[in-house]
Subunit: 277 residues, 2 copies
C-alpha cells in the first residue's frame, strides 16, 4: 500500500513542494504518492483539505506526510487537526531566525515571491523575447546584447536551456546551431563567422549520440538527420571545435535543464539579473 | 550594515535557495545580501567557502545566515566550523521522517532532481517545442493536441506563461493573440474561428492597461500600439469576449509567472505531465 504526502501552501506551493520533494527523495525505497495543494487560503478550503487528508489516512491505512508553508494561524489549526505527520517548515525555522535577527517576522501570506515587482517582470519578459528572437541562429546581429550564446548541434538542448535561463534568471541567452554549412572541404567544423567576434560569450552543449538520435527521431523518424552515423559525426566535429577554441561545454545527457543552467552560471560567472524566488 | 545569507548546496542550490528566500522574505525590515553557492561538492570548495563565510562575518560585523542542503558529512563539518547561524534543513527534518517512515534515508548527493529521467526530459522538450510552434497563433491546426490554449491581447503575458507551463510542468500550451482581425462591424470581438471548436481548452489572460502600455512601449515606442487609448479599448473588447463565453481569466498585473501558472492549474485541473523537482 502506498503512503501519501501532501505539499500544502497558501501561495503557489513551490516552496513546500521543492523542499518536500528534496526531503522525500532521500527515501528511495518508500512508495509515496505526492499531492500538491496550493492556494489553501480560506477556512473553507482548509476544511475540505482536512477531510481529504482524513480520507487518505483511512484509505492508505497510514497517516499522510503533511509538508506545509501556511502562514495564517486559523488555517494552520484546521490542517493540524487532520491526521497527518507534520513537517512544519515555517514554524520550525522562523522562531530561531527571529532570535538570531533580533526582530519579529512579518510572517505574511504570499510574501515568498517577487509579486508585482515591475523590474523583475520586465527583465523576464525581455529575456524571454530575446531568447525567442535569437533562437536557433535566427538572428545574429544582436549578439552584442547577449549575456551568453549557446552553441551545439541541432536538438542537443539549446532552446530549452536558453528559455530556462531567461525565465528563471533573466539571462539573455541566444543560441546558434552548428550545421554542415560551417564545414570546410576537409570535413572540419570552422568557427562560424557570426560567432567569431563573441568567442568569450560562447558556451557549448553536447549530448550522447544515442540520446540525440532518439530525440531527433521523435521529430523526423527514419531520416538521415536522426541516424546514429549522422549524430555521431556531427557531435565529433562539434566537440573538436569546442576543444580547439577552448569553449567550455557540458554534456546534457546526464543532467536536467536546472542542472545545465545552474552549472553554466557557476562555471562562467554569468550574472543572474534577478531571482524569482 | 547589511548582513549576508548564504544558500549552500552540493547540487543546483534550488532547494536551499527556494526555502531560504521564503524564510527570509518574512523578515521585511532586515537588510540582507543573498549569496547562492551551488555545487559545493569537494573538500577544497568547502574550505574556500568556509573562508569566504569567515571573511563575510568580519566585514559585516555579524555572522552570516547559512542555509544548506549539503549531504556529505565531511563537507558539512567544514561549513559548520565557519562562523555562521546554521539553518540545517536536511538534518532537522530527516531524522523525524526516518522515524515516521520506519526506514533510513539514503541521503545521497543530488538525489533531489529528476536527473537523467528520459521520460521527463522528452516531455519537457516536447512541450517546449509545442509552445514555440504554437506561439502567437502561428499555427492553429495542432490545437487538438494542446492541453490549454491561452488567449489575450498582444503582450499580456501569454508567451512567458506558456513557456513556463512547458518547462516546469510539461504542459502543452498554445497561445493565440486577440487582434482587430476578429472585430465585427460593431466593434465587438467575436470568438476567433480557430478557437471555436476548443472553447473548453481556453484560458484567458488580461492586464492593467497602464502596465500593458508600458510593456508595449518597450517594444514599439510612441506607436498607436502602445497608446493608452488603444490598450484600454483592446482590453475592454477582450474582457467582454471572456465574459460572454465564460472563459476563465486571470489578471496578470499583480502576479508573477509562477503564480499565474499555478493558479491556472489549480483552477482548471490541468494535469502536470511531470514535476521537475
Amino acid at each position: 500500500m502506498s503512503r501519501t504526502a501532501f505539499f500544502i501552501s497558501d501561495g503557489t506551493g513551490i516552496t513546500a513542494e521543492t523542499l518536500g520533494r528534496s526531503l522525500l527523495a532521500q527515501f528511495e525505497g518508500v512508495d509515496l504518492t505526492l499531492v500538491v495543494k496550493p492556494y489553501i487560503d480560506t477556512l473553507e478550503k482548509a476544511h475540505d483539505l482536512a477531510a481529504i487528508i482524513a480520507q487518505t489516512a483511512d484509505r492508505d491505512g497510514e497517516r499522510p506526510i503533511v509538508i506545509d508553508t501556511i502562514v495564517d494561524q486559523s488555517i494552520r489549526d484546521i490542517i493540524a487537526a487532520a491526521p497527518g505527520f507534520k513537517v512544519d517548515i515555517f514554524s520550525t525555522f522562523l522562531a530561531p531566525l527571529e532570535e538570531e535577527l533580533a526582530t519579529h517576522s512579518t510572517y505574511t501570506v504570499g510574501r515568498t515571491h517577487a509579486i508585482g515587482r515591475d523590474d523583475v517582470y520586465m527583465h523576464r519578459i525581455d529575456a524571454v523575447h530575446f531568447a525567442l528572437d535569437n533562437d536557433d541562429g535566427a538572428r545574429t546581429h544582436q549578439y552584442d546584447q547577449a549575456d551568453v550564446i549557446l552553441v551545439g548541434v541541432s536538438r542537443c538542448g539549446k532552446t530549452p536551456t536558453s528559455l530556462y535561463l531567461a525565465l528563471q534568471f533573466g539571462i539573455r541567452a541566444a543560441n546558434y546551431p552548428l550545421t554542415e554549412d560551417d564545414l570546410d572541404e576537409d570535413g572540419v567544423l570552422n568557427m562560424p563567422k557570426a560567432l567569431a567576434p563573441y568567442r568569450h560569450k560562447l558556451f557549448a552543449l553536447t549530448i550522447d549520440p544515442r540520446r540525440l538520435a532518439a530525440i531527433r527521431s521523435e521529430r523526423r523518424p527514419n531520416s538521415r538527420y536522426c541516424s546514429m552515423d549522422q549524430c555521431m559525426q556531427e557531435l565529433q566535429q562539434a566537440e573538436a571545435l569546442f576543444r580547439r577554441y577552448h569553449i567550455p561545454y557540458i554534456d546534457t545527457t546526464r543532467f536536467s535543464i536546472e542542472e545545465i543552467s545552474t552549472r553554466m552560471i557557476a562555471e562562467t560567472h554569468l550574472t543572474r539579473r534577478f531571482s524569482p524566488r
